[in-house]
């Protein structure tokens, strides 16, 4: 049985849906808004979106699960996205990602035991001239990363939380 949304979460989702439901092709903008507000898109938001956009729940679920970026469970406090596309590979991205897995004690798409970090591989951040690159939090990018710099970044983020 699907959990239903309640309280402030429900209000947030309803407010966001009301703001953009009339947009042509509103579903992706709404999924982005909900994920930005809540950190993920709760499966219980699916029926609300379906009703508002006159789509089937299956369709909305299909869209939500098709795109790598959208998540259905909360992430850690910091989502660490490490590029593993070719240009970053040429500068050691695979080794950096492997180092991140060891340093965080989790593998791709997982969250650390303390809930501080979620590790996601990504495919290109547009920083291909200065790889390897990573993206953390809302819009913080780091280029020419090394395992040492990654350790420092992880420590900095941990101490700030």
């Amino acid at each position: 049985m699907l959990e239903t949304l309640a309280g402030p979460t429900l209000q947030t989702v309803e407010r966001l849906i009301a703001a953009k439901r009339q947009l042509p092709g509103a579903l992706l903008p709404l999924l982005h808004d909900i994920q930005e507000a809540l950190g993920f898109v709760p499966p219980a938001a699916v029926p609300l979106l379906a009703t508002a956009l006159n789509r089937s729940r299956a369709e909305v679920h299909g869209v939500l699960t098709y795109y790598h970026y959208f998540r259905q469970q909360p992430a850690g406090q910091h989502v660490l996205r490490i590029c593993r596309a070719e240009a970053c590979q040429a500068n050691g991205a695979e080794a950096l990602l492997e180092h991140a897995r060891r340093a965080l004690g989790c593998t791709d798409h997982e969250t650390t035991a303390d809930g501080a970090f979620t590790l996601e591989p990504v495919y290109c951040l547009g920083q291909c001239a200065c790889g390897p690159a990573l993206w953390i939090d809302a819009d913080e990018l780091h280029a020419r990363m090394t395992p040492e710099k990654l350790d420092a970044l992880i420590a900095e983020k941990r101490s700030a939380t």
Partner: protein
């Protein structure tokens, strides 16, 4: 008189610490009671020198880089506002050979101006193309773009004028202009740099496209991985709308053109134009069969002009300077310039806008300066994850669409990814199949299933079973001929080229 200091806001510079450098400079300026104006410009595209700080002097802009936060006190101590004696000084920016030897048409303003200042844009030739377009008929605009020889810069290289004519002549209304800014190819970042560094150029190009094809609504579909580009575009749209360069009664005429920015969801295949349309419509990004052409039945089933960022951002200069001006650059059927992107293991990575016609070797050696690691170059992937891997022996190939097609490769969006001699090409072939399996939309069986089988077959080859190589080639044929879009039909390019040119990595005698 106030001295202007430029510190880029481009995300490539931010990724190397530009925000902290800008803050440190601002602090020093205040602490020293100096009269300075800090401008956050785009990036000049000399990425290995970022953060590249510039000082405006009577002799032109003087560059310093790469500047770290630790260098800031010494810059002021060396009086960098008036003196070029600091060790990080690179001299006049425009005289740096990397920049001086380029032909910057599309990127003329990028790195020069404050990307969010409409006044700066206007002062540097902005909106002259639109001004002229507003005096022309739709036919005349399309003729001008057609005569310029501009071909789609997203990779398919389809003549832009022909595409616009098809949309213009379609009977159905409304019509749309969609900018494909879903720049997912590894090794490419020109769209990002343009959107962050000169967003008004893209808005102007789209507005001209709207006038030409008869559309009043445009969409920019870009990547959620480009948060800085999204922010720059939204800010520029708000400014342009407030100042009458977008919206109703465009520049006092009866025309209307509005632009909305939409972000994807991290799906590479949404860079394929029909998958992008599905995504814009709020659906899964599944590729559509063609026909119908999107030009006739595209977004919401309506006639739609879909163009890449660079194509659209090049339109203003074509209108402002005339078709002949642009056509005079380039070779053969590849007219004008292409912003190449030097990426991967390269000493001088960055953006190089050049007329078509230089060789890959010139680009890599004269601009790129060889590998970053200093080790010998072994392979170059041109045109993104679906582009071929080329060996050193192919570096003499001329960078134009036809010359690349002739060797079974693609120029694509102009991304050049360099690998040194530590690369294992069997691993790269495996990665190409793995990426296809991950990103396939699932519509075509050869792409959806074949990519997973491809990973397995490459694994067996890596484990020493070279008898599987013919099977891998068969699989490549099936993908190439049995897939609707480039995802499936071009994944064989990197795989086959790895097999052809780097046979020794697959346990077989060198080719």
């Amino acid at each position: 008189m106030s001295i202007r200091i430029y510190v880029p806001r481009d995300s490539g510079a931010l990724a190397l610490g530009a925000a902290a450098v800008a803050a440190a400079i601002a602090c020093e300026v205040i602490a020293r009671g100096l009269d300075c104006e800090l401008v956050r410009n785009g990036s000049r595209g000399l990425c290995w020198l970022e953060p590249l700080v510039e000082v405006a002097t009577p002799q032109g802009r003087i560059a310093f880089g790469p500047v770290t936060i630790a260098d800031v006190p010494s810059l002021f101590a060396a009086d960098f506002l008036h003196s070029q004696r600091h060790p990080l000084c690179l001299g006049p920016t425009e005289a740096i050979p990397y920049l001086k030897n380029q032909e910057r048409l599309t990127f003329a303003r990028v790195g020069v101006t404050d990307p969010l200042s409409l006044d700066d844009y206007l002062a540097h030739g902005g909106y002259q193309g639109l001004q002229r377009a507003l005096t022309l008929s739709a036919d005349a605009i399309i003729d001008e773009v057609g005569e310029s020889g501009l071909r789609g810069r997203g990779g398919a290289a389809f003549p832009t004028g022909v595409k616009w004519r098809t949309v213009q002549q379609a009977a159905a209304t409304p019509k749309y202009v969609v900018c494909n800014a879903d720049e997912g190819d590894s090794g490419t970042f020109s769209d990002r740099m343009l959107m962050e560094g000169d967003p008004f150029a893209l808005l102007e190009g789209m507005t001209i496209a709207g006038l030409a094809v008869g559309a009043s609504q445009g969409y920019i579909y870009t990547r959620i991985e480009y948060p800085h580009a999204i922010a720059a575009l939204r800010a520029a749209i708000a400014t342009a709308t407030a100042r009458g360069y977008l919206g109703a009664r465009l520049r006092g005429t009866e025309r209307t053109f509005s632009i909305d920015v939409r972000a994807g969801g991290g799906a590479y295949v949404c860079g394929e134009e029909t998958a992008m349309l599905e995504s814009l419509e709020g659906k899964r990004g599944i590729v559509r069969a063609k026909p119908p052409l999107p030009a006739l039945a595209g977004l919401f089933g309506q006639p739609t002009a879909i163009n890449n960022v660079i194509s659209l951002a090049t339109v203003p200069i074509i209108l402002a300077r005339g078709a002949a001006f642009y056509r005079d650059y380039g070779v053969g059927r590849s007219r004008g310039t292409l912003p190449f992107q030097l990426a991967g293991n390269v000493a001088h990575g960055g953006l190089v806008e050049k007329a078509f016609g230089l060789t890959l070797r010139q680009l890599i050696e004269e601009f790129g300066g060889g590998t970053r690691s200093g080790r010998p170059l072994r392979a170059v992937q041109v045109g993104g994850p679906l582009g071929a891997y080329l060996p050193e022996a192919q570096l003499g190939t001329v960078l134009d669409y036809e010359a690349f097609a002739a060797i079974g490769a693609v120029v694509g969006h102009g991304g050049v990814v360099i690998f040194d001699d530590r690369v294992d090409m069997a691993r790269q072939a495996r990665y190409a199949m793995e990426f296809c399996a991950l990103e396939s939309c699932g519509k075509c069986t050869p792409c959806r299933i074949g990519s997973t089988r491809g990973v397995e077959v490459v694994d067996r080859i890596i484990a020493g079973d070279t008898t599987q190589i013919p099977l891998l080639r068969d699989l490549c044929d099936t993908l190439q001929h049995g897939s609707l879009c480039a995802m499936g039909s071009m994944t064989p390019y990197p795989v086959r080229s790895a097999l052809d040119y780097f046979a020794e990595d697959f346990g077989t005698p060198p080719s």
